[in-house]
Symmetry: C2
Subunit: 460 residues, 2 copies
């Protein structure tokens, strides 16, 4: 633990979600946080700075400048290192509501705290050795989790599972590197084949382990960001009805008049515990109406970024189906799911689809085909039925792991070559280990921390 860090100036933020709620929590952490509390609770018999850690009390919070009462609060006293950040920390639990929380924070800032940057409490916790970087990131993932499965994956990472796996690989790479360097000092003759075979074997094990972690990235991305599922099609194909049927409530205005939906409508949805962003779009057609044309342009932009494009085709209209599939061929070559809508109506023969395209017939009205639609969607997104409780790496982790794998492979190739250059191999191994060090935070720069903690909300 870096003891210097315990002397950072106090920062403060509202730690609870904004909006109406019963209570809010304002957190102040840093050297002097408890003395700052003394200035906020002048009427309290025993000052916060004179109290034991792990105790709380009721107090009237007084604005230190205006001297006006701000709120009645419950005041929690944490003494370093027994706090989230590892620093002296004061928490004020006041009445909820956005104005109330802001007023309490204003009083704390007036007493001398600086506003906390996004993730600053967790950054301090990391710097004070309370958690590694994967755990710090898991805190953010847990807060942002939109499904139980995403929360569970974040919890596993918060427990340190991922950090330990990566840490073990880091140790192994540094150990191999040290051996290679020892050989470099000690012997410039021919390398013993036993050493090369043993080292190659160990490297291969480490690489296999790293690849196993990288393979969790697809799941990690879906759990963190959700999958973007766009509902497209000609005007009046039944896109909004499909959205409403999936959501189970009438979110979008459905009207027989084509072109009813103009603004893009996005709704969260969970499929097998994975968060989806379901987006209903304006019908794809040439149009003279400027507002509607803007809607169509936005729809095309979304389709280009989608994980899945659910293209809705109304087969009750013979002409419509053909026109719609012509439209489809102009769409980017992406994962596409054709949804034949209005299956309850009498329909023409379904049109011939391009080879390999998945298709489902549904009726938003009767519910027919909806279960099949969901399972086909899950298949296309490659979602397991049940989330297993393992950590799933983030894009940042995957990139660093990828770098480590390629450097470790280069080291192995060098060692196994006809004339191995030990210095080059050691350098590859060191770069590989550093990449892993950046995953857990054993190696870090301010830029790396800035990038990690900028994702955070203020107050954590």
């Amino acid at each position: 633990m870096n003891v210097e860090r315990l002397f950072e100036a106090p920062v403060a933020a509202v730690a609870t979600a904004p909006g109406a709620g019963g209570v809010c929590v304002v957190r102040v952490s840093g050297a002097g946080a408890l003395e700052l509390g003394d200035r906020l609770t002048p009427e309290s018999a025993l000052k916060p700075s004179a109290r034991e850690g792990g105790t709380f009390f009721h107090a009237s919070v007084i604005h230190p400048v205006t001297r006006l009462p701000v709120d009645d609060a419950v005041v929690l006293v944490y003494r370093a290192p027994h706090s989230y950040t590892g620093e002296d920390t004061l928490e004020l639990q006041g009445h909820g509501g956005s104005v109330s929380a802001r007023r309490l924070l204003e009083a704390v800032l007036a007493a001398g705290a600086k506003p906390a940057a996004p993730g600053e409490f967790t950054r301090r916790a990391f710097l004070n050795g309370r958690m590694d970087l994967t755990q710090a990131e898991a805190v953010c993932d847990l807060i942002m989790a939109k499904t139980d499965r995403a929360a569970q994956a974040a919890r596993v990472q918060l427990d340190g599972t991922l950090g330990q796996s990566v840490g073990a690989a880091y140790d192994a790479l540094l150990e191999i590197c040290a051996e290679v360097e020892r050989l470099l000092d000690f012997d410039d003759g021919e390398l013993p084949t036993s050493f090369i075979a043993r080292t190659a074997g160990r490297l291969s094990d480490v690489i296999t382990g790293m690849k196993r972690l990288v393979a969790t990235w697809h799941e990690g991305r879906l759990l963190r960001e959700g999958a973007l599922v766009v509902i497209s099609g000609l005007p009046n194909a039944g896109k909004s009805s499909l959205l409403n049927a999936l959501l189970g409530h009438p979110r979008a205005i459905v009207h027989e008049q084509p072109g009813t939906t103009r603004d893009v409508i996005e709704e969260p949805y969970a499929l097998n515990g994975v968060p989806l962003r379901l987006v209903d779009t304006a019908g794809l057609r040439e149009c003279r109406d400027a507002v509607e044309r803007e809607g169509v342009d936005r729809a095309r932009g979304l389709i280009a970024r989608a994980d899945i494009n659910m293209h809705v085709v109304d087969t009750s209209l013979a002409a419509g189906a053909d026109e719609s599939l012509a439209e489809l061929s102009s769409l980017p070559d992406r994962k596409t799911l054709i949804v034949f809508s209005k299956a309850d109506l009498q329909r023409t023969a379904p049109p011939l689809l391009p080879a390999g395209l998945a298709a489902v017939s549904v009726s938003a009205k009767s519910g027919e085909g909806m279960a099949e639609l969901k399972s086909t969607l899950a298949g296309l997104l490659d979602l397991n039925d049940a989330g297993d409780s393992r950590a799933a790496v983030s894009q940042r982790h995957a990139a660093e792991l990828g770098e480590a794998i390629s450097q470790a492979r280069a080291a192995a190739a060098t060692l196994e070559s006809a004339a191995p250059d030990l210095a080059v191999a050691a350098s590859h191994l060191r770069v590989a280990a550093e990449a892993l060090g950046r995953v857990t935070g054993r190696v870090y720069t301010d830029d790396l921390l800035d990038a990690v903690f900028s994702r955070f909300c203020v107050g954590k």
Copy 2:
């Protein structure tokens, strides 16, 4: 204090606002709340039920049925009567985020707590004598406050100022009533004139005090509910531009094509510390388009309910102005503010307005006239410039005070009549006192409490 109440079964709820935040708080209150905590923290060295009130500790919260870890939490122990509700209370502060908070609450419910009804913690606080009914209501007002001025008014009420004023009037009425009743038992001859004069004087003082409280209702209503300010006018009059200019950012799509706005757009706005609900509407015109017609119908409905109808007239179009004012005459006879828009464009002579209508010329583009618009609006809404820090009564208070005033007046009239009927006067005084008792909660029924606390959010 009703000691019975301390033995109510424990109820639980998430006490923080929903959504992403650093921490959440789940509160459990009632008899057995601490023992319930024991089941949630089996790994903790010292059980919550064995800890002192006013202390907190870190614990791994385990689901009592699945035995799986749910979250790491800070656990606060409150012992009756030193808690918000006056009951034994446990608070679990866990990681923020909606999924995280829900999982924590599920574990608490699985341990035996019942879900708390809206306002149930505060209802228990009232029933246990921790606060009077006006203070309980102020808790809800403070949470819901949308401006500093609204929060300040709620705080004053929370301090008990309103409750004390009403309580003093209640005591005075009961005292007068007791004197009248004493006279009734004791003397059925002629009433001493000195008694009548003294009583009439006291009653008149009480009535004056109550009227002063009722007079704060206008402000109380605006602070609690906000004023509904509707922006109406012909298509393309510049309604959305005016909304955007007031908000200072482009909330509504502005387009030269008439009929761009279809959905009703509502935005919060603060004027002199009073929350307004600014509503942009579809242009008022006969239209063939079904979706747009729906928008126009909604606009007319809103105008009928508005506190202020800001009717926008584009004077750069001579014909438009006349048509618009014709439209205006078909609007309900309400507070109306005519806004001549596009003051930066060359315009025709402003049309003749019906007498007494307020009018302002503005340019959303240049900002010309916007300050005058705001001050005219504040004048029409009868808003003081600066909020003074006094409580402002709610509709419920005003209704009860109104009843008390009319009963007190009836008592005074009876006493001052040629042949005073003391029994009738006493009865009027008793009914008046009861109305005031319902304000503070000295007199209450379950129905009254249901009505008061149904306004609350869950978790307070």
